[in-house]
């Protein structure tokens, strides 16, 4: 069995967001493996250590050369090898799914993990679009997963609640918080990751082009009133706040 885990390199959530030359500035910022993708890598490793013993875990990223760092993080967690499809041109998620699907076919993949929502695109679409291209079923927003005899079963979130599901392989699974607790790479594994195979392929090999064009980017700045009261005298502070909510904001009766 072979498992593909798709990873993205995103701005660390603690970093501030600035716009430079029509895009969110990433140079010199802390970039990390997206947390949502860590769940996918971890789940693939758990399958390899358990129900899918002997499986190979391949990490895939599509992005500029620096994306290698995110793939090295996945390798340090324990992925067996990595593929970087290199492009300096930003691609939208539907275009990226065409690359993922082609890699899945050429690598004879049985199961794909994608993040439920990427921290840069705020997109939910990669898993489903990839599944459609491969004509595979999908399970999105998975919070629990088990594999038995070629069937995946688990739990996932839907509008208004959650469902238990069963789905045959091959399939695409998207992750979310609660699926597992991703492991920290140990120093020996970080060292080992440097020697693991990381194959670079130019995007041109896949014949995809962007479907969407970004025409504007701006940071959300909503002016806030920042009327902060000292709460040493609790009842006086509470009275002032309630009065503000009633008469300044007009949000309570």
């Amino acid at each position: 069995m072979r498992i593909l885990t798709v990873v993205r390199q995103v701005l660390d959530a603690e970093e501030s967001v600035n716009i430079q030359e029509g895009a969110v500035a990433l140079d010199g910022r802390k970039l990390v493996l997206d947390t949502m993708d860590e769940y996918g890598v971890e789940e693939a490793l758990r399958l390899r250590e358990g129900a899918a013993a002997g499986a190979e875990v391949v990490a895939l990223a599509i992005g500029p050369a620096r994306t290698e760092e995110a793939l090295r993080s996945a390798l340090a967690m324990g992925a067996d090898r990595a593929i970087l499809v290199e492009t300096e041109t930003p691609l939208d998620v539907i275009a990226v799914s065409a690359v993922v699907a082609q890699v899945a076919q050429s690598e004879k993949i049985d199961l794909i993990f994608c993040g439920g929502q990427q921290a840069d695109w705020d997109s939910h679409a990669l898993g489903a679009a990839t599944a459609e291209r491969l004509q595979w079923p999908q399970a999105t927003w998975t919070s629990l997963l088990a594999l038995q005899g070629g069937m995946l079963s688990g739990k996932h979130d839907v509008d208004g609640g959650s469902e238990s599901f069963a789905v045959p392989l091959p399939a695409v699974v998207t992750t979310q918080q609660g699926l597992n607790e991703p492991r920290y790479p140990t120093l020996p594994n970080i060292m080992k990751a440097k020697r693991k195979e990381l194959r670079r392929v130019p995007l041109t090999e896949y014949g995809v082009s962007a479907k969407l064009r970004v025409v504007g980017v701006e940071v959300q700045v909503k002016q806030r009133r920042k009327n902060i009261i000292d709460g040493k005298d609790a009842s006086a502070a509470a009275a002032t706040l309630i009065d503000l909510l009633r008469h300044d904001a007009g949000v309570i009766g």
Partner: protein, 316 residues
């Protein structure tokens, strides 16, 4: 045509459908506004839909009783092809955002996710949507004969009924068998108003210190105000509150008139779920907590003293 996939529950057309109708009417594109109703025993939904759209296509079949991403995508793509739809609007809930990418791939169309504005500009479709955990607004442009768009719930006012009721037609569909088998369901249940619909939200974080603290502070204040209850990931993970109450990147996105954050420090992932609230109110003992940077009103103090004092004040 402009194809809208109607969302409905318990025989009623959902608010999101009316919001999509507003988008369809105002986006500046020609074409009959067509609502597609998928489901089983949906005659009453179709009748409601006819009040808002020029045409209503109804697929009323037992095999559509349960939503499935592959089935829904197949149905929408077939109707879009046959009707030569140039714009397909789908609700931005979990299911809409799950099957819409499949529709886009089937039609070889661009996908715009979670649009908060949408307009035709010289034949291209231009939309704004949030990125970077809702901290950035990105404007994107889609070219080509057909575009799939999901509409962020709560971003547009609900439409009023049209002057004349639309025609209803039965939709002929060739549907695939679902491969994801549903073996059990857990519905969210709450006696309170839902997070999505509430004008006021009272939300609690680690600062409430215990499940009992949450009840005595957050729930009590919410009950006093008639507000919905929210929670941070940290306390959902700790098992103090159900996941259905979680606000943030991996939980719900809310934009009430006022969001009252009780003992919440304000991690970016949490802020991304509530930073579009009209007013943000923070009560926290740490004056340097990031939540105060985006607060309109706040009290630096002990939530165990401040919240009971607020409840007393409201009772006066």
């Amino acid at each position: 045509m402009i194809l809208l996939v109607a969302e409905h529950a318990n025989g009623k057309l959902s608010k999101s459908t009316l919001e999509m109708t507003t988008v369809a009417r105002g986006m500046g594109r020609e074409g009959a506004i067509t609502l597609l109703v998928l489901g089983s025993n949906v005659a009453s939904v179709a009748a409601q839909a006819a009040l808002f759209a020029e045409q209503v296509l109804v697929a009323d079949k037992p095999e559509l009783a349960q939503y499935d991403a592959e089935v829904w995508a197949a149905a929408v793509a077939q109707i879009a092809r046959e009707g030569e739809a140039h714009t397909i609007l789908i609700g931005g809930g979990r299911s809409g955002r799950e099957y819409s990418p499949r529709v886009a791939v089937k039609l070889d169309a661009p996908l715009i996710e979670d649009a908060i504005t949408l307009a035709d500009r010289n034949g291209a479709l231009v939309a704004a949507h949030y990125t970077f955990l809702s901290r950035v607004t990105e404007t994107v442009e889609a070219q080509g004969p057909v575009t799939v768009v999901t509409i962020k719930p709560g971003s547009f006012p609900p439409a009023q009924p049209a002057s004349a009721a639309g025609e209803q037609y039965d939709a002929e569909l060739d549907l695939p068998q679902p491969r994801l088998r549903i073996t059990g369901k857990t519905a969210e249940k709450s006696e309170r108003i839902s997070l999505a619909d509430a004008d006021l939200v009272v939300s609690g974080g680690r600062g409430v210190e215990s499940p009992e603290g949450f009840k005595q502070l957050v729930e009590a204040l919410a009950d006093q105000l008639g507000a919905a209850v929210g929670a941070t990931r940290a306390i959902v993970d700790a098992g103090w509150r159900p996941y259905s109450e979680q606000v943030g990147q991996t939980g719900k996105t809310v934009q009430p008139k006022a969001y009252i954050a009780v003992g919440i420090s304000g991690a970016v992932q949490h802020l991304s779920g509530m930073n579009k609230s009209k007013f943000i109110v923070a009560i926290n003992k740490d004056a340097n907590a990031p939540i105060f940077k985006i607060a309109d009103y706040g009290i630096v103090g002990d939530v165990h003293q401040i919240i009971p004092a607020m409840i007393d004040e409201l009772r006066k």
